[in-house]
Symmetry: C2
Amino acid sequence: MIEESPLESVKSDIVVEFENADQAKIVYDSIILEFETAPDFRSSMTIELDDSKIMINIDAEDSTSFRASVNSAIKWINLALQINNLTI
Amino acid sequence: MIEESPLESVKSDIVVEFENADQAKIVYDSIILEFETAPDFRSSMTIELDDSKIMINIDAEDSTSFRASVNSAIKWINLALQINNLTI
């Protein structure tokens, strides 16, 4: 299916905006290591912190690996937010 | 959880590139109606066709509705591709 697919690539810039720069920094510091070590040969992800925003760039070869990357990224962010709520 | 979340918004531009403009147009024509009628009050999606690319813009209030929108969009595209494969 993948080799026959007429789909060439799926790319995305995701901007996650937080209430303030502190919250964004806490989440960014919590998840940066996941992004750097995630083993996926069909997609690449980069993450950047910009004030109260986290920018995630995903470049995938196919839609399945794109969905996997988006879902991983969002899960990591949610997990960081939930742990942070516990510790406030 | 949602009201307390320090997450303000999740926005994304997704670019799906196909082998050629014909394939992109077939998929675009198949899924445009889904995008126009999808009832979601926490996120909005727009779709545009540009030669061999389909651009999807998602603007969501929270990460859950963002993931739902991304997953819907990718599923519609995959479904259109699979049906098109059957009919070739």
